[in-house]
Point group: C2
Chain length 491, copies 2
Amino acid sequence: MTPKLFIKSLLVLSCGLPFLTSAQTNPKLTQYVNPFIGTGAVKGSLSGNNYPGATVPFGMVQLSPDTRDEPEWDVACGYDHNDNFIAGFSHTHLSGTGAPDLFDILFMPCTGDEKTRAGNAQQVGSGYGSRFSHDHESAKAGYYQVKLDDYGINAELTATEHAGFHKYTFPKNSQGRVVIDLAHSIKKPNFGCHVIAAQFHMVNNHTIEGFRVITGWAKLRKVYFYAEFNKTIKSNDLVDGGTQYFDQKLLNGTDLRAVLNFDTGDGTPLLAKVGLSTVSTQNARLNLNTEIPDWDFNKTVAQANAKWETKLDKIKVDGTEQQKQIFYTALYHTFIQPNNYADVNGDYTGIDYTIHNNKAGFYSTFSLWDTYRAANPLYTLIQPQRTAGFVNSMLSQYLAYGYLPIWQLWGQENYCMIGNHAIPVIVDAALKGIPGFDIQKAYEAVKNSSVTDHPGSPFKVWEKYHYMPENLLTQSVSVTLESAYDDWCVA
Amino acid sequence: MTPKLFIKSLLVLSCGLPFLTSAQTNPKLTQYVNPFIGTGAVKGSLSGNNYPGATVPFGMVQLSPDTRDEPEWDVACGYDHNDNFIAGFSHTHLSGTGAPDLFDILFMPCTGDEKTRAGNAQQVGSGYGSRFSHDHESAKAGYYQVKLDDYGINAELTATEHAGFHKYTFPKNSQGRVVIDLAHSIKKPNFGCHVIAAQFHMVNNHTIEGFRVITGWAKLRKVYFYAEFNKTIKSNDLVDGGTQYFDQKLLNGTDLRAVLNFDTGDGTPLLAKVGLSTVSTQNARLNLNTEIPDWDFNKTVAQANAKWETKLDKIKVDGTEQQKQIFYTALYHTFIQPNNYADVNGDYTGIDYTIHNNKAGFYSTFSLWDTYRAANPLYTLIQPQRTAGFVNSMLSQYLAYGYLPIWQLWGQENYCMIGNHAIPVIVDAALKGIPGFDIQKAYEAVKNSSVTDHPGSPFKVWEKYHYMPENLLTQSVSVTLESAYDDWCVA
């Protein structure tokens, strides 16, 4: 960050915020992050749709509890603070969005009778899910913990950019299981959601890998995983729909769950490390081995926390404890998305569904209507390098789609909300002199996007009437205002 | 082929066939191929489901007319000789199967009012489709021709391994169009068929590229194309559902058609060359430029015909003209499938939905229940090198799925029909000493496949009862017989 930008950030951020100070010694700022802020609301009203689980800044993995078997629009992030049931811990989540998707590769530890459906809170014991209480739940930046009351299991989670790290402490003398559910998703068929293909492969007696190809809000996602356990998988049951395959090495299907059995009676924790990739199980393994080479859970927690500290350290504020908690949790939320979906070697499944490589990464989850006003301008000030990454990823959509993102999820346009708000984001970055992207290409993209028609765009109506009649286009006033703003940015 | 194998082939093929001779001079054997054999039957009964269009041995492209807008089970190959309507010419077809799929990237030349739906035979002018008559239709190995009666257009087709070549002769003083339909498929939602994503991109005023990602009988296929015309595209209309986008460069959607307008008034033919790939539009372009570098339609026809001549030349028979026509057309049909889906550089989208490379190719469309008795043993005799390729591709399914193919379509298992008939195919190849695959790996695959349970397999019932009760498993006698045969092959 240049000094000039830093002064700007002071000016911008001093408006309406607690008193800023940059001369102070370095306090632990992550202590002010409360991941439960935004996770619940009075029943029936909208919450912030934030999840309390473990993630690192701009990471691909968001390992967090899902309090519903099939989350819908009211729990777009998977977690509602009003719930008292956990279906399991899935590895990908949206933060703060209005619409739900993701929830990939759910893990759930349990004991007792084998169950292969999550069940629900209303019927105790109806599935592998468990009740929980906020009295035995905690979270900080990069770490989440909960006691699963139905099993007496203490579950702890942490994450790196491409991997989740699970620590399950079972009761003494228990026979522990882990269920992996590849069918867990938003309630089908919202957005036509269904699993197109999925697979489990028992690699050895400590390792399972697989994938799912799923269509949902993002039209097509390939999610590969590679999971290692610190204890021996004694036996396994691979399940497709209602059919069980005991101790089989491989299973293909569309409604898959794996039940893995372990000796957990000695009370030492069962650890599971899970790498993800959009490209292949090999890359998922590479991601995992690169980021979590050993079995030191606390070390990964400390690393995750340190990454957050570095990010939060960009801005220092004074104020009451509560003001700091509000401020630094909000700052924490701004660094959760967009997400870098490229593997550690730069491979990623691109916008055209084929494999690309960019060592600098590939960012997606651009909820631009929500972020162009405040979050993106903030990134230009305190995350200029990431901003260049965001712009380059948006430009790659321009190359593949012919126009910049409206709302891009896992590299795919879903045309959600109005406006053309990649334009102000890119123009802002260009005018502030952020280095690292091709200004000429950016200008071409901005200009062409403003005159290119696409599904859901108001272009045809505007061309015909030179205004937006409400009877032809809902939200006509907002559309007019926002389009005018975007056009002004192009100009 | 070793001399020993040649003797074997003489022995095998002399059973029930016209008298064999190998000492004769070389007559043009492709003259005996009649691609219309197997294309029709008495209305209501099953035809051979063979198509009359242009293809080369084991090629990826099968460019052939579809006589229905949305082919179903009764027209699995897209063409019924009883029909008098052509919806267009799509680039991929199944030959001789019971179930339908593919029909990718439909092209249709037309004149007059713009229409963006194919229509049907019952309502003349209801779409861009046209009536035709067998009086003005002809076909030979690697070539197809038809007069489109509604437009007075003579359409000719030929193909290479990865590309289709279209020649459309429009009436003098006509304004010609070509419709490209990316939504054309089996009748939706058979097999849950729907287009997940599609795109058109006007590359320049002679070129259009794009793709479709589709789920159908094959769970997921990515089909990229790159198409060049010899005449200037004067204007275009890209259509998504009911919305038209005139002279736009790019369109994304799920219900896409492109209408391209040309000056065809001088009576010189409009030529279109179309490359396909499962990997990317870049690879589709590479495939096209490698295989059809120039605009010489007749040269490509001659090359396709020559490829067939070389294949048919493997066996020489004497007999009546009709006997030779029956024999060589049947031999022609045996060389249409399996298909090599790898690009000219070896890239292909593999069984795990990620990109692989094998310079020796990747074969799919293994309809093994249909082919293990006769076609595959024939390949071991007269196509030993291809047989090694088939075995290696089957082994790659074993590696990815844990068991050998049952019915593999575009690299994906659909579990159609009974038995485990990759086993006899591989064992046969091994016992005959076909070189080019790993015998140890083949043995492991054959053995493990015979004891691995999978969706639709009779394994559980067999293990429990040691026989197949008809009330628990339909086709129990066939399943028993065929499983016993496969097990004997393993032994």
